[in-house]
Amino acid sequence: MNVLSLPTSLDHRSMDRILDETVSVETERVLFDARHVRWADPNGMVALLCAGRATVARTGRSAHFRIPENSDTTGYMARMGFFRAAESLFEFDQRPPRRPSGDTPVLLEIMPITTNTDVHEVVERVQGSAGEILSRTLNYPATAVVPFSVILSEVCQNILEHAEAPGWVAAQVYNWKKRLGRHVLVLAVADMGRGFKASLTDEHSARFGDRWSDATALEAAFMHGVTRFPDSHRGQGIQQIRKQVGRWNGALSIRSGTARIAAVPDWDDQPPLLQNLAAFPGSQISILLPARVPETAAEVGANA
């Protein structure tokens, strides 16, 4: 049996490692050892689900999963809906907590995206919680819930329209006190579908010739809004998401296959383009939205 020891922190910085190591496993039996995990955010949990599904697809059987020893961590993962989403992908070494512990409000627990109706459900679900979190915790205008909902809708549709396979979405707000001194909203969307390169190959690969790769496919979609549809009016989703995330000084990154591309704000240190990652199926989108820094003394006073 091959054992994948998961890092103590499952987040946007460790998700590539999880995906890469999953691809490198060649044995039939796989154990995801999460005993030492102390922290998991939407990117980490959704990446784990992708890793689980990739393992099932390769071996035809569920991977073993040792749940975290820390009860706060398992309680939080239950609260985010991880174990419910993962039960068909992993065999847990012990019964995971059914009832979530703590009363941490969740912006958007892990939800599967398999149909158009799921996207409506996601948009509807955040209407109650997102407005208050965006305005009170992130200091965004009260109206920000609308563009945030549009981002959610577009990233989830990316799964349905381009991946042609189911995926997951999750979002939560955290206090990045040490790292940034501010709260940050973390939104993760991932699927196990065709990925950008396969989706765009028929329409666009000829123009790139030998340069056609996961990286050039991501650049074409990310920078120029190309899609697999011959209709030149399509392809606004990713472009508009990038624009709106930029307005909020956020970070947007997309991994597909062996590459990851990112729009990187000044507070973030991830590289704008990573290549030569392991060939993991599908696409994984990460959006980080930091709290807005009050600009005027009046605003500072109001937030004090």
Binding site: N116, T117, H120, V123, S149, V150, S153, Q157, H233, Q236
Partner: protein, 193 residues
């Protein structure tokens, strides 16, 4: 020869709820947008010709880019093409600040423009027009209707005159059988209250 069209009102909120069989009024996802556009087209097919439609977005809370493309841009494009299915004109109502960004984005990308009727009865243009087209549109809008015999006085014989033809082609003003130019916002007034 075209007579002045009878206006019809289409409320998008109920169409969304029918198309996704739910109580949501969020116009999101391309399949939903496509279903709503097809429902609008089906209603148009049963109306007289030419038709002017007041498309009411008032009940719509969230409008994403895919739906703005389907319900606004594609609708306008389809009925301004040479092989359009019928003579149809559109005015949008209930375009709130939260809808503006996706609508502007899809219109600008496709070099389209749309007339929007504000709550106070005045109208505005969304999308892309050149200076002459904007000037002509404002003139027609302020006059309500410019009869053919006054067109030289109002538009002159220079660049504004050619802009009039472009606006007619783009379905942003209505030209009646006598050559009179009508503001779309006035034509929908009977169903706007």
């Amino acid at each position: 020869m075209r007579s002045v069209p009878d206006p019809i009102l289409i409320e998008v909120g109920p169409l969304v709820r029918e198309s996704v069989a739910s109580l949501y009024s969020h116009l999101v996802t391309r399949p939903t947008g496509r279903a709503v556009r097809l429902a609008i087209e089906a209603m148009l097919a049963e109306a007289g010709e030419p038709t002017i439609t007041l498309v009411d977005l008032t009940e719509i809370t969230i409008l994403d880019y895919s739906c703005a493309d389907e319900v606004v841009a594609r609708l306008l494009r389809r009925y301004s093409e040479i092989d359009r299915p019928r003579e149809a004109f559109f005015v949008f109502r209930g375009v709130q600040e939260r809808h503006r960004e996706p609508i502007q984005a899809v219109l600008e990308r496709q070099r389209l423009a749309a007339v929007s009727r504000r709550d106070d009865g005045t109208a505005e243009l969304l999308g892309t027009l050149d200076e002459d087209e904007s000037a002509v549109w404002r003139l027609v809008e302020s006059e309500g209707v410019v009869p053919d015999e006054r067109s030289d006085d109002v538009f002159g014989n220079g660049s504004l005159r050619t802009a009039v033809d472009r606006l007619v082609e783009r379905r942003l003003i209505f030209a009646d059988a006598t050559g009179g130019m009508h503001a779309l916002s006035r034509l929908v007034a009977p169903v706007a209250t």
